[in-house]
């Protein structure tokens, strides 16, 4: 039997890392989905860009360090990682201050990325 074609799935993460459970749930969903060998990509927009900054120290708030989990995504073959350039600009964050391996997208490229997908999942 022919293998079913891979679905293109884009995870859209638009919330800051620790103020709600959305960021953690998004990452859990990404890791769970990675087991099904689909064509996954992840984009961080709006407050989601705060997940990508470095030097999170979460021990004192007793939460899992999200940036450490994100840095491990390539181990799970999730390498299509993107960030919205205008969301970074609006928050005064420089792309070089993010963790490595995240490609910056302008408005048109982001729209194109979304519309190429089979499914969008928002967190």
């Amino acid at each position: 039997m022919a293998r079913p074609t891979k679905k293109k799935i884009l995870f859209i993460l638009r919330h800051a890392p620790y103020g709600s459970s959305l960021a953690k749930e998004g990452i859990d969903a990404i890791l769970a989905t990675s087991a099904y060998e689909q064509d996954l990509s992840v984009v961080f927009i709006d407050d989601g860009v705060f997940q990508l900054t470095r030097d999170h120290h979460t021990e004192s708030i007793e939460q899992k360090n999200i940036s450490r989990v994100l840095a491990a995504l390539p181990i799970y073959d999730i390498t299509q990682l993107f960030v919205c350039a205008s969301s970074l600009r609006a928050r005064g964050i420089d792309h070089v201050d993010l963790q490595e391996g995240i490609a910056s997208l302008d408005h048109d490229a982001l729209q194109k990325l979304c519309k190429q997908q089979d499914h969008l999942l928002s967190f």
Binding site: I12, R14, I45, D46, C114, K115, Q117, H119, L120, S122
Partner: protein, 101 residues
Amino acid sequence: MMSAILHIINQSPFASKAIEQCFERLHQDDGIILLEDGIYCAMQHQPFAAQIQSLSQCYAIENDSKARGINTDQLLSNVNLIGYDEFVALVIEFPLNQSWY
């Protein structure tokens, strides 16, 4: 390929930036459906009235509007009030759906 997206908004325009951030990325082929507190985005007196008015495809859940005591004459004229069956039909009809919360 440029698939149209049905954007799903369930937050008030006064309490959340969801509708504003959705409009920043909306494409002209896309549609919006307003439900729960998102229904307040369909009212005439709210910050994004002009942008909602300019949409060719804008829908709102009638039950959520009625539940909040909103009369149809308070809503923007281009907002189509729909039921849950039509909501499901729209979700199937659009190639992509995106929730904003």
